[in-house]
Symmetry: C2
Subunit: 198 residues, 2 copies
């Protein structure tokens, strides 16, 4: 039988639709959330609404951002002549957490996946090529170590090399088949330092 | 450096304040939430607000509920003469998921914790004693197997036994399916002491 009320049930349902949140975790979170002091639950609701309503992409690197450009692209402390190509925001976040990289990013927001009918035009690849009209010293490929990630990297490296721009790829050392966001910092840092020209 | 925008940062901060949600999970959730279709993020926000604004406790068992009484206390299919005493909503939910129990509950919303200055008057114990004025066949103690949980169970069992009501406690022993070499000493000792004839 249902042992909690209708509104609790709605909240549990909504929470359990989030990635990595099962039924049990959703219940635990729901019990916690409904008991938050008024100002805390209002802050949570406002944060979700504000971030959701304003979300868009950085017009330079296409990281998810609610501002015109993301903090990395705006920063004077980053090397804007080195661009690391990643599949998604989570992977960019993981690289940032490793603290080893001071260039900028290009977030493809996907990977080429022939089986799913996702081609080069379905990810932010055209936008990357447009960026290459400016002075760029190096493109670092940091797509996932999966069939789709590797295919995407290969495709991009062919394109970019025709422009005479140096292309490197994160060193192997990342376990085969692993998603970059699951890789620990030291491994990621080593893969970054050992990157080789392709 | 901060690699995501101010509003994303606020959302990540809010999410990471929830139990069991670390920085990385909070970021992952935030990236997911801001990309939800409008109607999905509105549904999430509404669910949180509605459940939070209306939350209170079941006036019978003190389970968290946004209705006057909880579904279990309202049910005609439950045995209202057997009351299981639990510390919190999560523990009640876990027992319900097991599907083995058809009585009702009393949710203490805490446990006696002398070190933290939480005494019998700081949990829903008085409310339990009031319920015992009605016909009750059995009180089942299902507090956690911790110092506080055990102290609370002992305290309640003394109180309830003086009323001549049967008091039982969930059996303590080896978890179902466990390899004995993986079971810790205290658990094994208790399983030995509580051994039953077969």
């Amino acid at each position: 039988m249902k042992y909690y009320s209708e509104k609790m049930n709605r909240l549990v349902t909504q929470l359990s639709m989030l990635p990595g949140i099962g039924q049990k975790t959703a219940e635990k979170l729901a019990y916690h959330i409904v008991k938050l002091p008024k100002e805390r639950s209002v802050a949570l609701v406002d944060a979700i609404r504000d971030a959701s309503e304003n979300v868009s992409y950085c017009k330079i690197c296409f990281a998810t951002s609610d501002e015109d450009t993301c903090p990395v692209c705006r920063s004077q402390n980053r090397n804007h002549r080195v661009i690391m190509v990643v599949e998604n925001d989570d992977n960019m976040a993981q690289m940032e957490r490793s603290g080893v990289y001071d260039g900028v990013y290009h977030v493809l927001q996907g990977a080429i996946d022939v089986m799913k009918g996702i081609g080069p035009n379905d990810i932010r690849l055209k936008e990357l090529m447009i960026r290459l009209r400016d002075d760029v010293d190096e493109i670092i490929l940091a797509t996932n170590s999966s069939v789709e990630g590797e295919a995407t990297a290969t495709y991009i490296s062919h394109l970019v090399k025709t422009l005479g721009i140096k292309v490197t790829q994160l060193a192997s050392g990342i376990p085969y088949g692993a998603d970059i966001q699951m890789v620990d910092g030291p491994t990621l840092a080593r893969a970054f330092r050992n990157r080789g020209e392709v």
